[in-house]
Amino acid sequence: MVDAVAAFVAWLGASVVVLADGRRGLALGAAISAAGMAVLALDVAGPVAAGSIALGGVVAATGRLRSGRAGWHVMPAGSTPRLVLCIAVALVALWIAAALTTGPGVSLRFTAMVVIGLSGARVLGADEAPALFSATGLLALAIALAAGTGQPPAAPWPFLAAAIIAGGVSWITPRIVRAA
């Protein structure tokens, strides 16, 4: 039951990142999604992995609060297609995770697919740096989480690496990007 809630939370966070344009919305989404993924990682890869994801999420959210458009800007005007995207991806992921594939770890499979899918779609659709880098952070965490599906992960390295990337990416300020 905990895993299911964690999966929902991860999806909710990823959806917020897709729907929000303001720094607060993006930070909140990153944090929520990381939290959900951390809980799932605890079962799959142990406390170090879960801690890495959680820490990565916190650092990412903190970094995101420093730069980007002020305020929440969650579901701004014209974001209906993104909303439809979040729901559709969730439904497809759920169908694949629960009905199509077999074996334990339905929540893990759902979360990996939905976070990778939504973050990839956000990268494809976004133009501003904050949204792009937030999605990048989530993508990194999801890739590490996906490493846990199938066979048991031998080492926590993917989670550590993902955390570093997620955390580091959010501290890249738009000024550096504009000057480059």
Binding site: L100, G120, A144, Q151
Partner: protein, 347 residues
């Protein structure tokens, strides 16, 4: 580490060294060394990390790094290719690991092939280009430095991740995409208006043959791919570097050197491209001989584009002329005697 990937990292390092030595301006040499070095290190990291997921994370980091170092194109465009590649490769690996119907395996193959195409920057996921963009931040960095290593890693991992049926679909998709890129790339190199785009399309055309080689599961296919990647990294890339000075000056040279360069770019004998084509025809003949006929016909489409690119090399003197001679000599040696390349990659 995978010997093939190691060899490609070494070739990328050699190409970087060539670029630094034969680059016309001092300022660009430092930039080349710094940013180019980071690219080569990133490629090495992709090859070195023990698991596929870590490789994806390294690729993601490299993508972010490449987008941040600047360039004419917008951040979103520079970030899109690598990140979509990571997402697709991640999903591909994920589908390969979960138990489920055969379709899941095939979706895994789709994810890996699409991710590879997005990472390298070939059809259908061409990275948008800007003619005035410096080399290190242009898509050619993915096509000629990181892409080869990424391709080697992805193909090798795919062989372990995918079962027989999905592996067949994986190979078939690679060959299909390869033929599309051969046609589009060679036509683009010939007909497109801007010279820089023409050079990019010529890389895409070469990648078409690489994908076909990787898709042909026989040993000769892998050999063809590694020799073709050699002719990209240590043939087409250095010549592209040298031509960038001429392209801006719009000086088109009718000198015979441009014909020799055109021959090297067109994969004519005795350059490395011809040896790669020979191996590719061998592999195709072993698998399905009509494919060899199609490939042989496709190989002729390099000619007009290569003549154009050869002419765009301009009147190069002194150090650049020595650079061209060195590139041609290396390609002739590899074309006549590619065995060391293959042994180094354990093929």
């Amino acid at each position: 580490m995978q010997p093939e990937a190691v060899e490609l990292v070494v070739l990328a390092a050699a190409a970087l060294a060539f670029a630094v030595v034969f680059s016309p301006a001092a300022a660009s040499r430092r930039e080349l060394l710094g940013k180019g070095g980071a690219g080569v290190l990133g490629a090495a990291a992709i090859a070195a990390v023990p698991t596929f997921d870590l490789a994806l994370l390294v690729l993601l980091a490299l993508g972010v790094l490449h987008s941040v170092i600047g360039g004419k194109r917008s951040l979103a465009i520079r970030l899109r290719g690598p990140l979509v590649a990571v997402a697709l490769l991640g999903l591909g690996a994920f589908f390969a690991r979960v138990q489920g119907p055969d379709a899941m395996e095939r979706f895994a193959a789709v994810g890996l092939v699409a991710g590879l195409a997005a990472g390298v920057g070939v059809l259908p996921y061409l990275h948008p280009i800007d003619p005035d963009e410096p080399l290190v931040s242009s898509p050619v960095a993915w096509l000629a430095v990181v892409g080869p290593v990424l391709a080697a890693v992805v193909v090798q991992r795919a062989q372990s991740l995918l079962l027989v049926d999905a592996a067949g679909a994986f190979g078939a998709m690679l060959i299909g995409l390869g033929l599309i890129n051969v046609a589009w790339g060679s036509a683009g190199a010939w007909l497109t208006e801007s010279e820089a785009a023409a050079w990019r399309y010529s890389f895409v055309a070469d990648w078409g043959l690489v994908l076909c080689g990787m898709g042909l599961i026989v040993a000769d296919g892998q050999r063809a791919a590694i020799v073709m990647l050699f002719s990209i990294v240590l043939g087409r890339l250095p010549l592209y570097l040298l031509s960038r000075t001429a392209v801006r000056d719009k000086s088109v040279s009718g000198r015979p050197v441009s014909l020799v360069v055109a021959a090297a770019l067109a994969g004519s004998a005795p350059f490395a491209g011809f040896a790669a084509r020979l191996l590719l025809l061998r592999a195709a003949t072993q698998l399905f001989w009509p494919l060899a006929i199609v490939l042989a016909a496709g190989m002729l489409m390099w000619l007009p584009g290569s003549l154009r690119l050869g002419r765009s090399l301009g009147l190069l003197k002194g150090r650049q002329a020595v650079g061209i001679a060195l590139v041609l000599a290396v390609n002739v040696a590899a074309g006549l005697y590619p065995l060391p390349l293959l042994l180094a990659a354990h093929l």
